[in-house]
Symmetry: D2
Subunit: 349 residues, 4 copies
């Protein structure tokens, strides 16, 4: 079977593995207070043009989300996101388990607009019984979103302006950030993120690392005492250096961006093939995730050789599914899939 | 500098690293539902003679502690432990952050007795306003303890009997379990643990793995829906197979026990040398941790070459410190330290 | 100004006040362990034909909701309700503050159907990544709902059957229960509630008491250790007898039902007058709450003399508002309002 | 039976009851936004000489404690108190249920010293792994304490200075504040409390009200958004005016202080009688609580007519018990008890 179902089916990029091998027997202090973490942090600050930002390394995305949100909010405050936001639908209520409601706005493409944020906050403030409702205090967005879509720089600028104008924090979940930054047409850079967000993270788990996310906190208010919260939520690795070593490797010589660009290019090849064959998409996309709508019969045949992800039923004979490429995707597999799609789909649309 | 301050200063044992290297590009399902995890689980169940026990792999000790305790308790219930218990003193209130009070009993050696448990529970039940106090429902012990001491089989049998007689769960934190099982004079086995505890874990982070603890749950009540709780607390690795691969390696051919025995033997060598020189210990021990009481002047000299851990001041000129060996400790380092101790300590005690 | 905005603008019914006066200097044990509470509990059990049900008295609705839900759920479980459910929109995230997500289904009339519950639970169970989402375990309904609508006995039977068939608890928030039971056309009785729900409460605050809700727990699983949870959430009054005295008075000689029936009759008079004048309603209703849609100009005039509650804007010149009657509403005020409505509305619809 | 076991065995003072009767049918806005609450708040601010302080009315002590502490702390912070502090021993883990550890220092008399606070904070800051432990951020004291002892002004000044010097909040639980302020030898005033504490409360439940505590928040940082937290924790009464009416009555014409002084005088009479008879006390006291150590045989005889509270066994034939007076204690009962004590105790000590 060939796995296109997600971007975490393999271990890590060979250069990351090499770094882990080479440093394996070096003795370091624990809990992320080692030189590898320090060096990786420096590289990230430089890439973000944010010399004052705090950088912390966490093991995974849910852990990063719950720790950041718990650190940012007082008990009566909530996190606002698209109804499809990962924290709302796929983290077993991790944010609620820290005591905070996830507030949602509708979204078809996984994105949320500045106007939506403003409307929610203004409605809250105008409500005569506002103290009986959760106060929106942090806006959670993912970029790329759970549907593989991307924010433009103009959209992020607008979101940031509205959030800060209203006294809210802007938090960007970058579990797949590399695939977004490297995507065709993307106009957002790391320094933009550091300038516009109060906190965001650079996903490693899905972009070349064994595991790990680098949380960048440009807003010093959110950075205060952050390591206590990492520890409290069980996120402080005794061998914190494992994350430093990996991010040090990924952030060296543009590796992170190079492997993301390659995955995006392979996704584009799949996307172009499908488009050419007339396949409609649930949402248009430019990153490493594709959501084509295909006939059940075609999917049945494909599933004999390929693993993909069920997204949703569209009509009685079609469903939307997810195909992902990643840093580890082999070109030969993409070519095989393109070939099979051509064979199965000619004349279907 | 030579690090004797803890047992997590290096990466992982070479066989674990080799397994990670060899499996790196194999594609697997995510979230611990892969064959490596399945196989490691089977090996652990076999070693425990507990064919029905649930086995889950978590990233670290604090995470294991908070997830197990949160899974086990209703809101008004608390976890009872020695005042020196890791959950009480060194996890930034992780258990309290899940809503539960940590109840403590005094202890000089890090251990807790069946009589202490019985007394606390009986006092709670006899209290006229018992509903105004937290109900003790789970007993947390660590073995080896935070002070390197060990429970005997008889003590564990008694604790288990009292807990179960009173309707409490017995939870054993085995962050350093290997060093305990392999220690001279230990009479406890893995099947004993599975028979006597409701839940316990086999520490990997400190005993040869890069990271990871294997939580074993013989009591099916505690096993129910456990994966939801792992996910909710941010402990479910996308690449769960990393933990399976590591524990599969550690549990093969007795590797886990062999490397623990080697570390214990090196600790014994240090311990014997100190004893011979008349050095008193804060607590007597048989595992990989030593807590000698040494003159400040000696510690000052040692600290130029060795890293160790401050434990507590004993009097105006002496303090207790911690030296640890581990799977990675080099024999030459132990010999050098013994030599230096002899040189510095002759005639001191 | 005349207050029609809610059903808690006054203190308590004269008979309740009289009971508080008469018992004021009697000495009793604290924390609800007195004879008044015992007697009130007995009367409620008798009215419910539920001799084994636990009865506890809490101070208010939000407190009752959060305590019951926290007592019922494990950490990964959530409460399912209509999107308009009080716990979802008007309790400042009280349920989330206990760690649990509120899961919602759409609803126009404040009610939720058995089919909706079944669909949510089945979708959860069929989801390949079900452990990444919150497990629905309790269904929260309010009766009357926040929109003044009522469940029929058939609907409750169906909900109860589906919940219990799927292993979920059914929890009924009866903050305005009296006004529901006494409403024209209602076919649900107290014994029905005790038979069909796992837990429900009889609202006192809005139906004649100074404050207080009587939580009835027919399901013994949910009753276990409930007093600990009341205390933990700050809901255990030192002078618990205050609640016992009040419910003892309300449950004597049919007082609770009699004063509710009177309020419903006054609401019917308003409702009939409006209907006669052609006023449309946001939702049809039979209890003490009315949600007429009125022209802004009429509302402006009315607001000079009457206090009512804003509900929502309907179009550019009309909005829906809420009028409430209560046990304390004076007939003369209803008549005055009817008169003013006739004067202002003739020819408007 | 005559109840001396606590200070909440009756309802409320007649003037409070009268105020509730007189205002019963007045219509007011809900949730504490009425004129009674406003007026009571003004009176309290005036008595405290704290024109800017926020004043909120809560139903009971545990609720006040958990709401204040949850409002004040970030997730990794804890509340420091005497080991006998009410939040540590008698609130079913209410503070932990909001996610915060209660940190304790030893105390024989229920009090905590500035030196103890300084030592704990300095030890935390000096700890190399301080981020692995809970950060002390708020000091909780009760005055009078749970043992009936009182802080002197000098002690409070010192505590306040140390707390503020170290960046901690000082929170005073005044569940029995009246009995403290009115006690012989007390040198603390309401303006002192407002000047020295960041937040404190004036207990009503035990000092003349049916129920209710007035939380005074001189520190504006702690006052921010406080009403959201009251609502979230189920502490916002729909008929908030009930608390306003009661505190308005208690704070008028010195009623609160007058009834407290009377109770203290009756306690003094008991205390003097016992002292005269040679009875030793567990702790010396000046407020409405007494903790005499009496022979079991005497206690057995007394218990046929009087209800008192068990405190602790002192030796094989003696135990310490608690007698309380209150605003409601009848002089005749005190005289009867003195008489019986004389009869039973002559020649015993």
């Amino acid at each position: 079977m060939i796995y296109f179902n997600n971007d975490y089916a393999e271990g890590c990029h060979e250069k990351v593995l090499q770094a882990l091998n080479e440093t394996n027997l070096v003795q370091t202090p624990g809990y992320g207070e080692d030189d590898y973490c320090r060096r990786a942090g420096e590289k990230i600050r430089a890439l973000c043009a944010a010399p004052e930002a705090a950088v912390h390394f966490l093991v995974g995305g849910t852990q990063a989300n719950l720790t950041v949100i718990d650190a940012a909010l007082r008990p009566h405050q909530g996190a606002l996101c698209a109804v499809s936001g990962h924290i709302n639908v796929h983290e077993t209520g991790a944010v609620e388990a820290t005591g905070h409601k996830v507030l949602t706005v509708p979204s078809d493409d996984g994105k949320i607009t500045a106007a939506q944020v403003a409307a929610v906050v203004e409605a809250h403030r105008a409500d005569a019984s506002f103290e009986h409702t959760v106060q929106p205090k942090l806006v959670y967005i993912s970029n790329p979103t759970e549907l593989g879509t991307l924010y433009t720089l103009a959209e992020l600028e607008e979101l940031s302006k509205v959030c800060h104008g209203l006294g809210l924090y802007l938090f960007l979940d970058g579990a797949r950030l590399g695939y977004g930054l490297a995507a065709k047409g993307n106009d957002v850079t790391m320094p933009d993120l550091a300038r516009l967000c109060d906190v965001f993270y650079i996903g490693g788990t899905k972009v070349g690392a064994l595991f790990g996310e680098a949380v960048v906190i440009p807003n010093p208010v959110l950075a205060e005492d952050f390591r206590y919260l990492i520890k409290q939520h069980g996120g402080m690795l005794a061998k914190g250096r494992l994350l430093g070593v990996q991010f040090d490797a990924l952030m060296s010589d543009g590796l992170y961006f190079e492997i993301a660009a390659r995955a995006d290019a392979l996704a584009d090849r799949l996307r172009d093939t499908m488009a050419e064959l007339g396949v409609p998409f649930l949402v248009p996309g430019v990153t490493n995730q594709l959501f084509p709508i295909l006939p059940d019969s075609v999917l049945d045949t494909l599933s004999e050789q390929y693993v993909f992800c069920e997204q949703q039923r569209v009509d009685e004979t079609h469903r939307a599914v997810r195909f992902c490429t990643s840093w580890a995707t082999r070109e030969a597999h993409v070519e095989a899939l393109c070939r099979d799609l051509r064979r199965l789909l000619v004349g279907q649309f």
